[in-house]
């Protein structure tokens, strides 16, 4: 609560925001909803010399349909995403994931871009984007680049964003016809950070899996896709998911005050099976 004073800069465009970030040379933090940054400042975990407020930059929020994708502005608030008709229709996994984020107040203020740029390895939205193979639009005010969701987070609270870059938008492919989805998380209390979260999208036909993507959050330094499980699932009858998803390797869970590494391993297995089962059921239902 007793924070060290910092300056407040309000940017009215992406160019201006990036210029400000360069001006402060790594000492400034971007703020949009502030729901991740301000708790950290209040706890004394970061003390920037300035915050650059991008929340009033025009044109960076909302969901639009483009070709086979949804374009979601980085400033789109969780609450808006949660209630968005396009998201509900074309990418219900995303709608479900965002419903699990924080509490009402966090969802009112928090933004999609803020959540993704925060780089929390247990967060729901980076996981969803990884499994959905979304792409992020990133700008430094002069040039833009596109980064695959799965490659964007690097490690705990660290992403590919350069110090003068902003995440401006996300392109989420629509869930193709015939695919089903699943999302589950275990948190200690509702609204808490996930201990482990899992997401999957699957195409089934005739009781067997044709194509599957499954990922986990909270089990490594960043969200992970279970690529070997995915490969092993091709052609597998739905009834045999349990056997294929055995011990989940390729994860490196840690022990913290929420859960032990061992319990996270258990959840990884249980939740991976559950999201796959749900996704298969929805896929079959969609046929």
């Amino acid at each position: 609560m007793f924070v060290k004073p910092f300056r407040y800069e309000r940017a009215s465009s992406v160019t201006e925001a990036c210029a400000l970030l360069r001006e402060y040379d790594g000492e400034a933090k971007v703020i949009a909803g502030g729901q991740s940054l301000l708790p950290m400042i209040n706890l004394g975990l970061v003390d920037p010399s300035a915050v650059v407020d991008i929340s009033r930059i025009a044109g960076l929020d909302g969901v639009a349909e483009r070709n086979g994708s949804l374009d979601v502005g980085a400033l789109t608030r969780h609450r808006a995403l949660e209630g968005d008709a396009l998201v509900a229709r074309h990418q219900p996994l995303l709608a479900e994931a965002v419903r699990s984020v924080g509490n009402t107040r966090v969802r009112n203020r928090g933004t999609l871009g803020g959540s993704l740029a925060h780089g929390d390895p247990a967060a729901e939205l980076p996981l969803a984007m990884t499994v959905l193979e979304a792409e992020y639009e990133v700008s430094n005010g002069n040039a833009t680049r596109t980064i695959a969701a799965g490659e964007f987070p690097l490690t705990y609270f660290t992403t590919q964003l350069a110090e003068d870059e902003l995440l401006t938008g996300v392109r989420v492919p629509k869930l193709p016809a015939g695919w089903g989805w699943g999302f589950h998380e275990v948190s200690r209390r509702p609204g808490d950070f996930a201990v482990v979260a899992a997401a999957a999208v699957v195409r089934c036909r005739g009781g067997a899996i044709e194509d599957a993507r499954v990922g986990l959050a909270g089990v490594s330094e960043r969200p992970v896709r279970l690529t070997s499980v995915e490969a092993a699932l091709a052609g597998v009858p739905v009834s045999q998911i349990e056997d294929v998803v055995g011990e989940v390797d390729a994860i490196e869970p840690i022990t913290d005050t929420m859960a032990s590494a061992g319990y996270r391993r258990r959840l990884a297995r249980v939740l991976a099976r559950r999201v796959l089962a749900d996704a298969c059921q929805r896929s079959e239902g969609a046929d």
Binding site: M1, K4, V186, R188, R189, P190, T257, M258, Y263, V270
Partner: protein, 776 residues
């Protein structure tokens, strides 16, 4: 809303008492106009913050404040040498010097040695809150790390690092009653178990805070969120001034639960004001509150219980070890409560209790709702269930069979003098709950269990407890109550108004209660130990009764009629043939030199101080008994536990205000559920890992079901109108009930709190192998 259900014996004709009236402090709280400790701002006010130890055990090599003094806005930086008497004494009663010095001390600001992560080292005072962070950072502290003790067992080992020079054993208590070994020898069945409870934080919503200032006549005023205004004496001692020069005022407090029983911000505010002569405010952050304020004792318990085939308990052998943390605080007394309550609400004739509390380099531990009487519920109730299981008996029956009755003697030697309706509370929750639910899906299991408890109310009898209250009419017929009780949210002040209203016939709306002021209200003692209704309630009862008698006497004399022909009624004195309006009656008193005010003092039951070998004819005034029932469902894959239904019943003697009682029961039950399933102050080698509300998890509305309460009224309590205290008791049963319900669902019992989801799969596995074992 009235309580869910009230079962009354010994009904009385009551007008105001026993009714679910809105509390008289509620409207302001709901309107947002109540000014809590941190809400006060005074002209020219400074701000203060503590520099705290970053390590759990170290010698302080350097404390250099020179850089901090240069930070713009800094007015003063104080260290231990600036404190006139840099010591807070705590009595460790009943212990011989071979255990520990009879007094234990802690420095207000550490000078040479720090013993826990978060211990105060320096006090920074600044013009604005904005300089606090930079100023604290600029205080240069150099540590020479010392080995620490982090487990009580380690602290007792030969050659363990000494937390304090006099040794790591802070206190021990023994109870020996009957012949335990003989009881075990003739038992049909013996069950045993080890149980462990965790460090718990009070986590009230209002962090520690206060504002202090100097009066024109040199009295230091501290308006602070506290349960104990009598700490003015401790503050005076630290400053080296007469007691009369310090005044502590407790505004409405945003939750206490024992956490605001010891001093928090008081000495620091006092020092800052004494040094700067300006008003000062100090608010602890949530992080400071979680780091540094004393916690509930982590406790390990070993129980062995001997019984006959019909479930009658023959003997019990109990060992208790608690973690006293870095400083004594109230650990010795908390352990005494654990020891006295160790066998629970059951008659056990052969008992051995051995208990110890040990210094460690963990945060200090002290008072918390239940005060040591709470941890042992997990022990004795788990034993009751194991016994029932072993003998194939109904757990409810085993409890009823062994329930204490009036006249039975507790292991410590105190006879039970009031009627015990434990069995009624057991029946009440079971009847209310009806059928056990069925699992909602595959891979789920449901369980049901009950747990009972007893919890003392009122302070230890040798503390010579007393409470005073002043009740006076205004000339317009409205009423003023003055009583030193701090109101920590339990409706303490409101209950006093309700009692005065009952006796004097004054409308609740026409009563003002002035409370919690060590200088202006008659001292009423601490709002702790579930004592305020007993003590202040009786003091007000007494003062109001005296006042009533004065007025009735004056009116009777004036009218030349016997006193018995008048009684107090709303707005008037009702006579046999004629009523006298209240205002007129008050004028009669004035004319006849009869005071229209009265000071009542209530003295608690007395007894002699105990020694380390606990034996006393009386140790507590009385006890409250109750039973909780829980239904829960377990996800067999993830181990997640969901409570489906919760019913709680206590014999509260008489519910002065059923709405308040119901609130205490629901609040206590949910706090207990938090301790059962969620909460733990996690320490890693003395470093607190749960420094925020992100990590320290208290139950949300979505984590708990409705708490249905069944209030049982025996009319047998020692409080006014036969009330028993109900503040602490409801926190006792939940953890034991939840653990037992999990055992009911999966076949094996969790024995370590909190029962996080990851501890459940182990129970499932053990339950399976137990089943397998039986089958084979």
């Amino acid at each position: 809303m009235s309580a869910d259900e009230i079962r009354t014996s010994k009904a009385e004709e009551l007008r105001v008492v026993n009714r679910p009236l809105a509390r008289h402090d509620a409207a302001e709280k709901i309107a947002g106009t109540t000014r809590y400790a941190a809400d006060l701002a005074l002209g020219g006010m400074l701000h203060a913050r503590l520099v705290r130890s970053q390590v759990p055990s170290a010698r302080l090599v350097r404390r250099d404040v020179s850089r901090a003094l240069e930070v713009p806005g800094v007015v003063a930086v104080l260290v231990g040498e600036d404190v006139p008497h840099n010591e807070v004494w705590v009595d460790v009663p009943g212990q011989t010097t071979e255990v520990v010095a009879l007094k234990a001390s802690m420095q207000v600001l550490a000078t040479e040695r720090v013993r826990f992560h978060g211990e105060p080292i320096a006090l920074v005072v600044t013009e604005t809150e904005d300089s606090l962070a930079a100023a604290c950072e600029a205080v240069d502290v150099e540590y020479d790390l010392l080995p620490g003790v982090f487990e009580p067992e380690d602290g007792l080992r030969e050659g363990a690092p000494a937390v304090h020079d006099q040794g790591n054993l802070l206190a021990e208590w023994n109870i020996d009653r009957g012949d335990v070994d003989a009881a075990f020898a003739r038992a049909d069945v013996v069950v045993e178990g080890e149980y462990a409870t965790q460090f718990v934080d009070h986590a009230y919503l209002e962090p520690e805070a206060g504002v202090a200032w100097m009066d024109d006549d040199g009295v230091l005023n501290i308006r602070v969120a506290t349960q104990v205004v009598e700490h003015y004496r401790d503050v005076a001692r630290i400053l080296g001034v007469p007691d009369s020069k310090v005044r502590v005022i407790a505004p409405y407090v945003g939750g206490g639960f024992g956490g605001k029983e010891d001093m928090t911000v008081e000495p620091y505010l006092a020092l800052a004001v004494a040094h700067t002569r300006r008003p000062v405010r100090m608010t602890w952050t949530r992080n400071e509150s979680l780091l540094a304020r004393a916690k509930r004792h982590r406790t390990k318990m070993r129980y062995r219980t001997a019984a006959s085939r019909d479930g009658t308990i023959l003997g019990q052998d109990v060992e208790i070890t608690s973690d006293a943390g870095a400083y004594a605080y109230l650990s010795a007394l908390v352990l005494l409560y654990s020891s006295v309550h160790a066998c629970g609400p059951y008659r056990v004739d052969n008992v051995r209790v051995r208990s110890k509390t040990v210094y460690t380099n963990n945060p200090p531990t002290s008072a918390f709702r239940g005060f040591g009487g709470m941890q042992v519920v997990l022990g004795y109730e788990s034993q009751m269930d194991e016994l029932a299981r072993e003998l194939g008996l109904d757990p409810a029956e085993v409890r009823k069979r062994n329930s204490l009755r009036r006249g039975d003697v507790l292991p410590v030697g105190q006879p039970i003098e009031t009627e015990v309706l434990l069995a009624e509370t057991i029946d009440a929750v079971i009847e209310r709950a009806g059928d056990k639910p069925v699992p909602r899906g595959p891979r789920r299991a449901v369980g049901r269990a009950i747990a009972s408890n007893m919890q003392s109310y009122g302070r230890l009898v040798w503390l010579n407890d007393s409470a005073a209250a002043w009740v006076g009419f205004q000339l317009d017929g409205s009423l003023t109550v003055r009583c030193g009780v701090p109101d920590i949210g339990g409706g303490q002040a409101s209950s006093l108004a309700q009692i005065a209203s009952e006796i004097l016939g004054v409308d609740m709306d026409d009563i003002s209660v002035h409370f919690g002021d060590s200088a202006l209200t008659p001292l009423a003692g601490t709002t702790t130990a579930t004592r305020q209704l007993l003590m202040s309630g009786n003091a007000v009862y007494e003062a109001a009764t005296m006042l009533r008698n004065q007025i009735l006497g004056a009116v009777a004399a004036e009218r030349d009629q016997p006193v018995g022909s008048f009684e107090m009624a709303p707005g008037e004195i009702a006579g046999v043939d004629q009523n006298v309006p209240l205002k007129q009656a008050l004028m009669i008193c004035r004319r006849r030199n009869v005071p229209i005010e009265a000071l009542g003092t209530f003295y608690g039951p007395k007894g002699r101080e105990v020694g380390r070998e606990l034996h006393a004819e009386r140790i507590f005034p009385d006890f409250t008994f109750g039973t909780h029932l829980v239904d829960l469902e377990i996800d067999l894959d993830t181990g997640q536990v969901r409570l489906l239904r919760y019913v709680a019943s206590h014999d509260v003697g008489r519910a002065i205000n059923p709405m308040i009682v119901e609130g205490q029961i629901a609040g206590g039950a949910v706090q207990g559920i938090g301790q059962a399933l969620l909460e733990e102050v996690v320490m890693q080698e003395g470093v607190n890992m749960t420094g925020g509300f992100f990590q320290y998890l208290i139950p949300t509305a979505a984590d708990v079901p409705d708490i249905e309460s069944v209030i049982v009224e025996s009319g047998e309590g020692l409080g006014p109108f036969g009330a028993r205290g109900v503040g602490e008791p409801p926190i006792g049963p939940p953890a034991a009930a939840v653990a037992a319900a999990i055992c009911d669902a999966v076949g094996a019992r969790p024995t370590t709190l909190p029962i996080t989801p990851e501890r459940v799969p182990d129970c499932i596995d053990r339950g399976r192998s137990r089943e397998g074992g039986t089958a084979a």
